[in-house]
């Protein structure tokens, strides 16, 4: 119990430290930090319908974050969620294009299947390179992100190009309304149900199955797993595939829900934010749900800032980056205080 208290206390302390750093950066850039933070707080959590907005951004982020948590738990630094998210969305968009005209109950499941397979494949090749040759997955998945970004540009300005578009930003032809799983506000019973199913099944997978047990061990002590007789590479590859499939699923939700079409460079911070959510939650599934709501709120504030408050939306990127800088830090001080307290109590 004290352990989880320590980790929550530590996360909160370092989030505060990160916000202080942000205040310094805002002031240097010539913005009033007070004004900036109050606008962000307002946009993220206090305005009317803030919860709805936080859910719209938070639910897909939660799904990707769960995938990130699963690969991190197994000890693999799959930071390619962004690329897997894009490739999932691209595959789903192609399937929607090809099956266009068929009834929705055929098209929608096929798109979801395609999205998850696409995301899984985009995680599979770095996984194979890592497990078969030992090629470092940090770099390969990062490069995968850049490649997927270029692929998205190519697809939206080539095969799936919307000819009627104004040409400002390349985008694909909009999805037929019958195939959308939510309106552009982005919260619908379908999306909530998917997120709940993903959350529950992944919680069970991590906490109640031998895979969860072994992958958790693999992250801490790979030798132990081999001694237990489990195949390390099977556990590893499965975690790559699951994390990729979940990122692809989130991409499909964004395509068929709020966005309704692909646009080049859409949601460029999705993968990074999902990594943050998983880390803030200390790689727990339940914790990710809470953290996703927080970062979902921040993501909605990124739209609120320039439109309502007249402030640059890059402020949100800076807050996220500052939290990333500090979130894995471990201060001796906090540990010492908590240990002292537990000793005093015991």
């Amino acid at each position: 119990m004290t352990d989880s208290l320590v980790s929550i206390a530590r996360a909160l302390v370092f989030i505060v430290v990160a916000l202080v750093l942000c205040a310094v950066i805002f002031s240097i850039a010539g913005f009033s930090a007070e004004l900036m933070f109050s606008a962000i707080l307002d946009g993220a959590f206090l305005r009317n319908g803030a919860l709805n907005h936080a859910l719209r951004w938070g639910l897909p982020l939660f799904i990707t974050a769960v995938g990130v948590a699963i690969s991190f738990r197994a000890g693999y630094f799959n930071i390619g969620a962004q690329g897997q998210f894009y490739v999932g969305a691209i595959c789903a968009a192609f399937v929607a294009e090809w099956t266009s005209g068929a009834p929705a109950f055929v098209v929608i499941p096929l798109c979801f299947l395609a999205g998850m397979i696409g995301g899984a494949l985009w995680a599979l090749w770095p996984g194979l390179l890592r497990l078969r040759s030992g090629a470092d997955e940090v770099i390969t998945t990062l490069m995968g992100n850049f490649l997927a970004g270029l692929l998205l540009v190519y697809v939206t300005s080539g095969p799936l190009k919307d000819q009627s578009g104004s040409g400002q930003q390349a985008s694909s032809r909009p999805l037929d309304a019958a195939y959308r799983i939510s309106n552009s506000l982005g919260v619908s019973p379908t999306i909530i149900a998917i997120a709940v199913i993903v959350g529950l099944s992944m919680w069970l997978l991590v906490n109640r199955t031998s895979f969860g047990m072994m992958s958790g061990l693999a992250g801490r002590n790979p030798t132990m797993v081999t001694w237990q007789g489990a195949k390390l590479w099977k556990v590893g590859l499965a975690s790559f595939i699951i994390s990729g499939a979940l990122a692809g699923l989130a991409g499909t939700i964004e395509l068929m829900g709020p966005n309704g079409r692909l646009a080049s460079g859409f949601l460029p911070a999705h993968g990074f934010t999902a990594i943050l959510i998983a880390l803030v939650a200390n790689l727990s599934i339940l914790g990710s749900a809470v953290a996703a709501l927080f970062f979902g709120g921040l993501a909605s504030a990124a739209l609120y800032l320039p439109v309502i408050a007249g402030l640059p939306s890059s402020a949100i990127d800076i807050i996220n980056a500052a939290i990333a800088l500090f979130i894995t830090a471990r201060s001796q001080l906090i540990d010492r205080i908590m240990r002292f307290r537990s000793r005093a109590n015991g």
Binding site: L129, G134, L150, Y154, L279, D317, I318
Partner: protein, 297 residues
């Protein structure tokens, strides 16, 4: 032929400087994924410095200073607060990308790019058709050589290797690894500033949001590809630049028959292949992530 060599030198030089920063950090025991953020900070500071001081020397000093200060922050987080290097490095990169965007927006409104009236000094007509290259291109081989000497032939280089490979042993003979790492990161910060300066003020003379486009990560890959050796890593960086230049050349040759967005991906593919080859040749990645410490038990 000349123009393709010029293109390679132009795109390769910034990469080499940043790669050297990655090499010195890696030898000191830090896997530096913040290179991208430092590089864009250097690029932005150089252009803003030129615009506001009208002096290239002052602009370079500002850029180097900014990157050194940010490097000290990174050192504090990974060394004193024991943060995970990979995640903290990504955070630093995010701060660089977001911070430069914020700076441009706050000074120039919502402008996407800022151009400077002049850039780095050119090497001059003495070099014929290469005369338009910046002075940093000419200095680049000397920097690589100097780094090789520094890392392989000096007391500091030996201490650096000790701090990186066996911090415990280093400490037992009175070397403080943490201080050595601070020196390595600060030197690296200066190099990232030069790389960023060359990128923004070498031939382009403008800064735009996210203009580094993953070059810092490519430099990181070049460090791994080059096994942490300054010359090897610099060659790896030049290799990525050659692939990129050939991709641009291929666009001119093939025209619309090959989609040009996919040709832009060639350097990234080359990076993946480079990482894969070096893993095959050297028997796999060492655990660079330090996972045991990422999660509480």
């Amino acid at each position: 032929m000349d123009d393709i060599i010029i293109a390679i030198l132009r795109s390769g030089t910034p990469l080499v400087y940043v790669t050297l920063a990655g090499v010195i950090a890696q030898r000191a025991g830090i896997w530096h994924l913040g290179l991208e953020g430092l590089m864009i900070a250097g690029a932005c500071a150089t252009i803003l410095g030129i615009v506001f001081t009208q002096s290239i020397v002052l602009a370079l000093l500002i850029a180097v200073g900014v990157c050194m200060v940010v490097s000290v922050l990174f050192w504090f987080v990974v060394e004193k607060l024991k943060a995970n290097q990979i995640i903290a490095g990504l955070g630093l990169t995010g701060l660089g990308l977001g911070g430069t965007t914020l700076a441009i927006e706050s000074i120039f409104g919502s402008q996407a790019a800022v151009s400077a009236p002049f850039g780095l000094p050119r090497i001059g007509p003495l070099f014929g058709s290469f005369g338009n290259l910046s002075i940093l291109v000419l200095l680049m081989p000397f920097f690589v050589l100097a780094f090789w000497v520094l890392l392989r032939r000096t007391r500091f280089g030996l201490r650096l290797a000790a701090a990186g490979e066996h911090p415990f042993a280093a400490r037992s003979v009175g070397i403080e690894p943490s201080r050595i790492r601070l020196a390595a990161l600060v030197i690296g910060g200066a190099l990232c500033a030069l790389g960023g300066a060359e990128l923004a003020a070498g031939s382009l003379q403008f800064f735009s949001q996210n203009m580094t486009a993953g070059r810092g990560f490519m430099a990181f890959a070049a460090v791994i590809f080059g096994a942490g050796h300054p010359v090897g890593a610099a060659l790896a960086a030049m290799f990525f630049a050659i692939v990129g230049a050939l991709g641009i050349r291929a666009q001119l040759v093939f025209g619309d028959r090959v989609p040009h967005d996919l040709l832009l991906g060639l350097p990234y593919i080359a990076t993946v292949i480079g990482i894969w080859m070096s893993a095959r040749l050297r028997g796999g990645a060492k655990a660079i992530s330090g996972f045991g410490e990422l999660r509480d038990n």
